[in-house]
Symmetry: C2
Subunit: 352 residues, 2 copies
Amino acid sequence: MGKDGTELREFGMEQCVGEASVRFREPVEIMASASVVGTKEGQGPLGALFDKVGQDDYFGGKTWEEAESNLQKEALRMAFAKAELEPKDVRFLFAGDLLGQSIASSFGVSEFGIPHFGLYGACSTCGEALSLGAMMIAGGFAERIACVTSSHFATAEREFRFPLEYGNQRPLSASWTVTGSGAFLLRRAGLQEPGRARILGMTAGRIVDYGLKDSMNMGACMAPAAADTLVRHFKDWGRSPAYYDHVITGDLGSIGRTAFLDLLAMRGIDLAEKHLDCGMLIYDAERQDVHAGGSGCGCCAVTLSAWILKQLEEGFWKRVLFLPTGALLSKTSFNEGKTVPCICHALVLEGA
Amino acid sequence: MGKDGTELREFGMEQCVGEASVRFREPVEIMASASVVGTKEGQGPLGALFDKVGQDDYFGGKTWEEAESNLQKEALRMAFAKAELEPKDVRFLFAGDLLGQSIASSFGVSEFGIPHFGLYGACSTCGEALSLGAMMIAGGFAERIACVTSSHFATAEREFRFPLEYGNQRPLSASWTVTGSGAFLLRRAGLQEPGRARILGMTAGRIVDYGLKDSMNMGACMAPAAADTLVRHFKDWGRSPAYYDHVITGDLGSIGRTAFLDLLAMRGIDLAEKHLDCGMLIYDAERQDVHAGGSGCGCCAVTLSAWILKQLEEGFWKRVLFLPTGALLSKTSFNEGKTVPCICHALVLEGA
C-alpha cells in the first residue's frame, strides 16, 4: 500500500493518510448536537451543561430498555430541533448501544424512518459512528448525516452483570455505566454559518487484546487499545501530543488512565498534562461513589456534546483528539472464560 | 434535499441518487471471496460449491462461540489466500454476526490486526458490510477493504431461543440458522484483471416494523422491510424488476417469500419470476427438515460467495439485486413483549 501522497492518489485513495487514517479533503462539520442524561449524571460536575436531565431514569418507558430507547429518541429529536431540520433532511443514520442486538437503537430510532446503519463498538461506538458518518459526507454519499449512541446504567447491569434487584456488589475498579444519549448532525463544512466543530479526519482502531479477563476492571482492559490507536495516530498524521490542546479518551476511568499513561511512557510519550477522560469528567469521584469513573456508549457522547464541543465552540481549545474506547466482551464470552478484547477510534476535532 | 443531479453535485453529493441510494462514480469490485460452512449446509444443494465444509460444527473450538469465531477466521484466511494478499494489504475490516456484543467477530478477527468497524444489522449485516466497505473505496478512503459475517446454528439457538440441550421444538414457520461465514475482499474496479463481480451502488434500508411479535416467524416479520427497500430502490434508481436477472433476498424463507411477493403485488410489482431467496436455496426443503428455510448472517454471505458470484462470474447472469434481510430483535426485547423491527439493504451487483 502506498505511503506517499502521489501513490495514494494513483490508487484513488485521495483521502487516506498513513496506514489506518483518513484525512478529509474538505472538513466535515458537527452542525448540531444534543445530550440527554439521567439523574446521577445531572448531579455531576457537567450537570448544568446537558440539554436535558431526566426526572427519573425511566424516561417515560415501562422497562429500562424502553427508557434507553427513549433517551436516543429524545437526543435525536433535540438535535434536529436545534438544527431546524427534520429526519427527512438527513440521508443516513448511524446508531448503536451496548445491548445485545443493539435493541436500544432499533426501538429508539425506527420511528424517524431514516435509512439506518447499526454499529457495534461497545463504548467506542460514538467514535465509530462519527467516523463513518463523516466519511459518508466527505465521500460524496450524503449531504447530512445523523449519529446517535446511548447507554443506561440499569440496562447495562442486566446485560453484562446482574439485574439491579440482586443488589450485586461492585469492586473499586469497576466503572459506572452512564445513563445518557448523545446525538450529532453532520454536514460539509463551509456551506453556511459555522457549526459546533469540524472533523478533520480519523484513525481507525484495531482490536487489541492483552489477555486481561477482569470485566470489573474495563479501564485496564481498554488502556492498551487506546495507546495503540494513539501511537498509530501520531505516526499516520506525523503529530505529537504538543499539537493538541487535549487528548480525550472515552471511559478509561482512573485505573485505566494510569495504565494508559504508563503504556505511552514506555513508548516515550508523555501525555499526563494533555490527557482527559470523559469517564473521569462526568462524575465527581469524591461525592458520587462511582468507583473508577463513568463508562458506556453514552459517556463520551454526552461529554462531547455538552462540554468538549462547547470548549471548541467558545475558543478555549483549538484542537482536540477524541478517543472513544470500547470493551468488546459479552456475558457469554465472560462466562466462557474469555479475555476482554478492546478497541478505540480517534477523531481529529477542531474549532469551527 | 436536492433531487436532480446538478443540485446534488452542488452539495458535494456526487455519488448520491434519489432519497437513500448511492451510485458509485467508479464501480467497486469484489476481487475475491470465500465461504466456509457446517455439515448440514455441506449436505444441501449448494454443498459442492462452498470452499470448505467443516468436519464437525466445532471447527476446532471448545465452545459453539469459538466455533463461530473460527468460521470467520477461516473464511477470511481463505479469501486472503485466493487474492494472494495479506491482512496488512487491506485498510479496514467490516465485520458482524448475530451474537450479543458481536463476540463471534471480536474474537474471530482480532488476530488479523486490521483496523476494525463492528456492525450490527442482524442477518442483513453482510449487505451492510459490503455497502459501507464499497463506499470506503469509492470515497477514496481505502484501496482495499475486507468484509466478513457469520452465523452458527448452535450459538444462535442459545442467543435467541434455548440452548440445544433443552431439545426445544420449533414451529414450521421457524427458520434454521445457517452455520457458515462468508468473507469478501473489495477494491476499485478496472485496476487489474477483473474480479468476481462489481458493486455499482446500494440502497440503504430503514427500520420497518409492522408490529409482528412472532420471533418464530421471522420471514413474515422481515418481508415488509424487504419490500420497503426494494420499492425505494426502484424509485431511487428508476428501475423495475425487468432490469435485473434476479432479485435475491437474504433469508425470508418460504413464508417470508409469500408475504414479500404479496406486499409487492399490492404495490403493482410482480416479482414472482425474478425472486430468489438464499434461505430457500441453501437447504433442500424436502430432505433437510429446516421448516421455512435458512437464516442468519452467514446464510446470504455464503450463498453470495459460493453461488451468486459464480453465476455472475460465469456470465449466466448479468445484473442482480442482492437484498440481505435482518430481524433486529433480542431475547430481552422478545421477553419484554416487543415487536420485531426489521431492516434490509440492497446492493446492485453486475458481472465483472
